[in-house]
């Protein structure tokens, strides 16, 4: 490049360059901290403005440790305990601002304190710590959650009952249900030690169904908890399950109201089931009428909906359609997607099917001798034939 060329370049470009720099942030300005929220992702970050380009460039060059970053810009949960660490996150240095992006999205409506200490800049700036208390917008109110039903739904339940299901109108929180479920006797007194107290909660994937178990040590015969305390339920007595409304839903709101479900305990169910005892009301060919199967005793609702199906004779793939459980889980009806074709069918049950006391097809829960062979892997099918005419 000749001298003329350099001169021309300087005259043409230099003013533009100065404008760019001036438009940036050549001089330090008063520090301000704001909370920026992305309306789409709802992600929030703290933004520090007022830093000069020199200060920002020196921050970009600095190899700050995590401790140095948090000494410069410390973001904490308002009113957190003494000695609590700052909120974890990432520090980004931009051309005009310093930003802090928390590792987890900030909670809507919660207050956070951001404190910027200018003396901790690579080239310390005089002045006091700038502190702001900021909160992301509060979440919109959501409709409250209710308990839709409890299963088994029968009025009389065997005294060796193993489990209950609670169905909710909307997803619940991952709080443990153990603190909110009580079994009361007919005098309204809580029965202690009735339920299985494990540090695990049994939710469905959508958090709308919760399973709780009776303590199997008291249900099973012959072991110490059963011998010492007996079963929690006794044939002929009335009981109530009470659900505390303080149980929070997925939006952190308590339930609309307490829920009570009363039932009477009946005799223990101690025998295995037989598919031959089931009654089939076969549908007519050419219709989409449901097939209705009636059982001599109630079956477990969850397993009833998963372990029973219909297939064409000699085939294993299930006929597609929708199943529903009848009153008290003593029947099952199935409406096919397509009209029934005339011919032979099998009603089939997979061998993990249980009644509410854990008895399976051909095998009681409490076996009084040790004479059967375990079957693992793919569940076996038990079938009951029927004909569609």
């Amino acid at each position: 490049m000749g001298l003329w060329g350099r001169e021309l370049l300087t005259r043409l470009i230099a003013p533009f360059f100065c404008v760019v720099i001036a438009a940036g942030c050549s001089r330090p300005a008063p520090i301000s901290i704001t909370l920026e929220s992305d309306p789409d992702s709802k992600a929030s970050h703290m933004r520090v403005s007022g830093l000069s380009s020199d200060e920002l460039q020196s921050l970009q060059r600095a190899s700050f440790s995590e401790d140095q970053w948090t000494a410069l810009l410390r973001v904490t949960v308002a009113n957190s305990a003494a000695g609590a660490p700052p909120v974890a996150g990432r520090f980004n240095v931009g051309a005009r601002v310093l930003e802090f992006t928390p590792r987890f999205p900030l909670d809507p409506g919660r207050q956070y304190v951001a404190a910027f200490d200018p003396s901790r800049l690579p080239t310390p700036r005089s002045g006091a710590v700038v502190q702001e208390t900021l909160a992301p917008p509060a979440a919109a109110p959501t409709p409250p959650t209710t308990i839709v039903r409890m299963l088994p739904s029968g009025d009389v339940l065997p005294e060796n009952l193993l489990r209950f299901y609670i169905e909710f109108s909307a997803p619940m929180s991952n709080e443990t249900g153990r603190d909110f479920i009580r079994l009361l006797d007919d005098a309204g007194k809580e029965i202690q030690g009735a339920l299985l107290m494990v540090d695990i909660d049994f939710w469905s994937a959508d958090h709308k169904r919760y399973t709780f178990f009776f303590d199997p040590g008291r249900v099973k015969r012959g072991i110490q908890p059963n011998l010492e305390l007996g079963r929690a339920l006794h044939d002929g007595r009335q009981y109530t399950i009470e659900i505390d409304p303080r149980w929070r839903d997925a939006n952190g709101q308590p339930l609309v109201q307490a829920f009570k479900r009363s039932f009477r305990a009946g005799p223990p169910e101690m025998t295995g089931m037989k598919i031959q005892d089931w009654k089939i009301a076969a549908p007519r060919a050419g219709t989409r009428d449901p097939i209705v199967v009636t059982f001599p005793r109630a079956l477990d609702h969850g397993l009833l909906m998963r372990a029973i199906g219909v297939s064409r004779k000699g085939r294993t793939e299930p006929v597609p359609g929708d199943a529903t459980a009848g009153r008290g889980e003593t029947s099952w009806s199935f409406t096919p997607r397509d009209a029934w074709a005339a011919g032979a069918y099998d009603l089939f049950a997979l061998d993990f099917l249980e009644d509410p006391a854990g008895n399976r097809l051909g095998r009681p829960f409490d076996l009084d001798k040790f004479d059967t062979v375990d079957k693992s892997g793919t569940p076996a099918r038990v079938t009951l034939p029927f004909v569609v005419k």
Binding site: V77, A84, N174, I200, D201, P216, G217, R221, Q224, D374
Partner: protein, 364 residues
């Protein structure tokens, strides 16, 4: 000249673009790490691999933590750890659920699995506590990992219904090249014990056996295992396990073959209304002991010496508890999780008046 002018223009364009861009990210580009939908329980392999169960997804992740920047070795007590973890995660203690803890065998740092948030949008986090009491979040996005999905039983599928069945992993341990996993179902009274070869292979998600309990020789039931610990008894790798119905049982690993009926031998009754949630083995004064954390009956110390000879409880136990003798550790109350910290200490999570404390305790 033209070339230089182009270069300079490009430089100016970069200056303008940079000035208007909101942020320049620092640090390395993210690497896709494990995608947990939930986290806990945890178990370390001897080489420092962390097995972390995702109960929501019925998946076990094996995490390689070797690239983590070292913290101060060991773990010191952290009072109010729930509130401190909550602060680190930008929330309060009511929004934090601690699901497990495990001690890394080399550094002796403690890893705590946490769910942040109470709702469906709750997010998993893994927090390391080091020998200086510093809490640090383990970044998932840069972690190397492998994973295996637990088998879900077949269903007589019908249309239009989401399967609500889920397995909840209760405990895990790596034994002789296999990861053993116990779980409970939210539907059938399941009693499965999975064995998955490790390192995980894409084509092998293991086998499972059904575990039974011979109730003192008289009755037999399916009995899920809540917690277990591997050990050697008479030179045979043996699992000491706690059933949901409380008894402590033993069975040789060699019994865990597909198709076999696996029946634990009851060696102790730990009392009613009680679940053993964690067990660790340790040595003191030349003897081996089992430390058992219970849901309702505190922490118990059991000498393992009689385990091999114990014939199993076959008759009605006349005392409140029975079988091999054990000692209740009265000083350890409110314990919700425990692991072995080092040769002389256990690390426990304890409920206190002001929250949950992480406490290093001398082994009893």
């Amino acid at each position: 000249m033209r070339t230089n002018l182009v270069k300079l223009t490009a430089l100016l364009a970069l200056v303008v673009a940079t000035a208007s861009a909101p942020v320049i990210a620092r640090g390395a580009a993210p690497v896709a790490g494990p995608s947990f939908s939930s986290i806990g329980p945890l178990a370390f392999g001897p080489d420092g691999t962390l097995f972390a169960a995702d109960r929501q997804a019925a998946t076990i992740f094996a995490l390689d933590l070797s690239a983590q920047k070292a913290g101060a070795p060991g773990t010191i007590s952290v009072p109010g750890i729930d509130a401190k973890i909550a602060a680190l995660l930008g929330t309060d203690a009511a929004q934090v659920q601690i699901t497990d803890l495990a001690v890394e065998p080399k550094s002796r740092n403690t890893y705590v699995s946490v769910m942040r948030g109470v709702g469906a949008a709750a997010q998993p986090a893994l927090v390391r506590v080091d020998g200086a009491g510093k809490l640090e979040i383990v970044a998932f996005d840069a972690l190397k990992y492998t994973s295996v999905a637990l088998p879900n039983p077949a269903a007589a599928s019908t249309t239009g219904r989401q399967n609500p069945r889920m397995n909840s992993v209760t405990d895990m341990a790596l034994v002789d090249g296999k990861l053993y996993v116990t779980g409970l179902s939210n539907e059938e009274f399941a009693s499965k014990f999975w064995a998955v070869p490790y390192p995980f292979k894409a084509t092998d998600n293991g086998t499972s056996v059904e575990i039974f309990h011979g109730n003192h020789g008289a009755f037999e039931t399916r009995s899920p295992v809540i917690s277990f610990v591997p050990t050697k008894i008479n030179n045979q790798t043996t699992l000491i396990a706690g059933y949901t119905c409380t008894p402590l049982v033993r069975f040789p690993v060699s019994d865990l073959k597909p198709g076999a009926k696996v029946m634990g031998t009851t060696i102790a009754e730990l009392g009613n209304g009680n679940q053993p949630f964690d067990m660790v083995l340790y040595k003191k004064d030349g003897k081996e002991f089992l430390l058992v954390g219970n849901s309702a009956r505190g922490v118990m110390k059991v000498a393992t010496e009689p385990f091999g000879a114990a014939e199993g409880i076959k008759a009605k136990v006349t005392s409140e508890t029975g079988g091999v003798p054990f000692e209740k550790i009265a000083s350890l109350t409110g314990v919700t999780q425990l692991d072995l910290l080092d040769a002389t200490h256990t690390i426990v999570l304890q409920r206190g008046e002001a929250g949950i404390n992480l406490t290093a305790v001398i082994l009893p």
